[in-house]
């Protein structure tokens, strides 16, 4: 069985430590798909907030779960994470916009508005990912 499919799913849940999101085959970024890369662009963020914003939700979740584990024991965050994982699987195909209603309700995003709802709304973006490539990436065939 091809395990690359699983790997691509796992990668999305690991906090992004650096800016180089993945090394393609041969250990360098594929210039055809990601454009030209430079060492400076990968090591230094273009804005001091870039890294902290990229990891903001992950860090918040980590903090909340560890507090919950300390207060209520191991089972509470485990059960919540199981529910999150279940709702995260209710998605459309990768190039279409999913509503994520269940995930939003669990997180409490249905009762708050932030900059991610106002600026750069992905539902209103003018470009769409190439359907074939996105499916291949998701299935790990790329």
């Amino acid at each position: 069985m091809n395990t690359r499919g699983l790997r691509s799913q796992l990668k999305d849940s690991v906090p992004v430590a650096g800016l180089c999101t993945q090394a393609g085959s041969y250990g360098v970024q594929d210039p055809l798909r990601k454009g030209f890369s430079s060492v400076k662009n990968e090591l230094l963020p273009s804005h001091p907030l870039e890294l902290s914003e990229k990891n903001f939700h992950l860090n918040q979740d980590k903090m909340n779960f560890s507090t919950l584990r300390n207060i209520q024991g191991l089972h509470a965050p485990l059960k919540l994470q199981m529910e999150y994982r279940a709702t995260r699987q209710i998605q459309r195909l990768p190039f279409l916009q999913s509503s994520n209603i269940a995930l939003d309700t669990l997180r409490g995003n249905d009762e708050s508005i932030g900059f991610e709802d106002v600026l750069n709304d992905p539902a209103q973006s003018e470009v769409m990912g190439d359907p074939h490539m996105m499916m291949e990436y998701k299935l790990g065939l790329l």
Binding site: D12, T21, Q22, L32, R33, K34, G35, N41, P45, S46, H47, P48, L49, E50, S52, E53, F56, P94, E111, S112, I113, G114, F115, E116, D117, V118, L119, N120, D121, P122, S125, V127, M128, G129, D130, M133, M134, Y137, L142
Partner: protein, 277 residues
């Protein structure tokens, strides 16, 4: 470009794509000895004071863009909820968007709890958002309102620190306004006294600070009632001309006159009817 969006799921919010380009542009412009256009700031005097029955907020109405006045009558007292208002100093867009987002969040929250929102809730939401962006959102705010526990007044700095005080001032004219407050503030004032104090504090900022000017807006919040007085006072009204300075017809003598007729021939004539039904 479509291929670049394969690997990351599209997410909303701030996009840092143009930061490197902007840095390069600034370097290029610096070589040509020009500068990047400045963001519109409010360069302001805002203040608030707690009196016997509630809170009085005051603000001037000048918005500057570098050394030029961009708006002579802008409104700096923003609505957060029916019992909470917020004055904003700093970058005009930042204060506007921040107060609107917090106002929406507070509305959703109060619908969820079924109660009138508390000033402490608005304060907590604002400080958490401003701290998240580490001061890059340049919004210095004076938040005041009356809730079930009485009148409250907070000042919120762009990096996310807050102070809960009986009288606060923010903005470039804050020192001038604070001088007036420190001289004449007393606890438990009456409404007229508090309004006069706020008016004088903002006037001090207007006349002694270049970044503040034009009119004085005042907002009086009490339990169940809000008086938004815009403008409360206009100390900088533009003068009216005393007389008419037009020259009479024939003041300038005509020496010579030459008339050149332009012969235009009609080439084509079309009639297009308007739809006036």
């Amino acid at each position: 470009m479509a291929t670049l969006s394969v690997c990351q799921a599209p997410c909303g919010g701030f996009s840092f794509d143009y930061c490197r380009r902007n840095v390069l542009l600034e370097a290029e412009l610096a070589k040509l000895e020009r500068s990047v256009p400045a963001a519109r700031k409010t360069g302001t005097t805002i203040c608030g004071v707690v009196y016997k029955d509630g809170v009085v907020l005051g603000a001037d109405t000048r918005a500057t863009e570098g050394m030029v006045v961009a708006d002579k009558n802008c409104s700096k007292i923003h609505y957060i909820s029916p019992n909470i208002y917020c004055c904003g100093a700093g970058t005009a867009a930042d204060t506007e968007m921040t107060t609107q987002i917090i106002s929406s969040n507070l509305e959703l929250h109060s619908l969820s709890t079924g109660r009138l929102p508390r000033v402490a809730t608005a304060n907590r939401m604002l400080k958490q958002m401003l701290f998240r962006y580490q001061g890059y959102i340049g919004a210095a705010l004076v938040l005041g309102g009356v809730d079930c526990l009485g009148p409250h007044l907070y000042s919120i700095y762009p990096h996310g620190s807050t102070d809960k005080l009986p009288y606060v001032t923010m903005g470039s004219g804050s020192l001038a306004a604070m001088a007036v407050f420190e001289d004449r503030y007393k606890p438990d004032m009456e409404e007229e006294e508090a309004k006069q104090l706020v008016r004088d504090a903002i006037a001090a900022g207007i006349f002694n600070d270049l970044g503040s000017g034009s009119n004085i807006d005042v907002c009086v919040i009490t339990k169940g009632k809000v008086d938004y007085l815009r403008p409360h006072d206009e100390p900088n009204k533009k003068g009216t001309r005393a007389g008419s300075y037009r020259y009479k017809q024939g003041t300038t003598g005509i020496l010579t006159k030459a008339v050149t007729p332009l012969d235009l021939e009609v080439v084509e004539e079309t009639v297009q009817t308007m739809d006036t039904s």
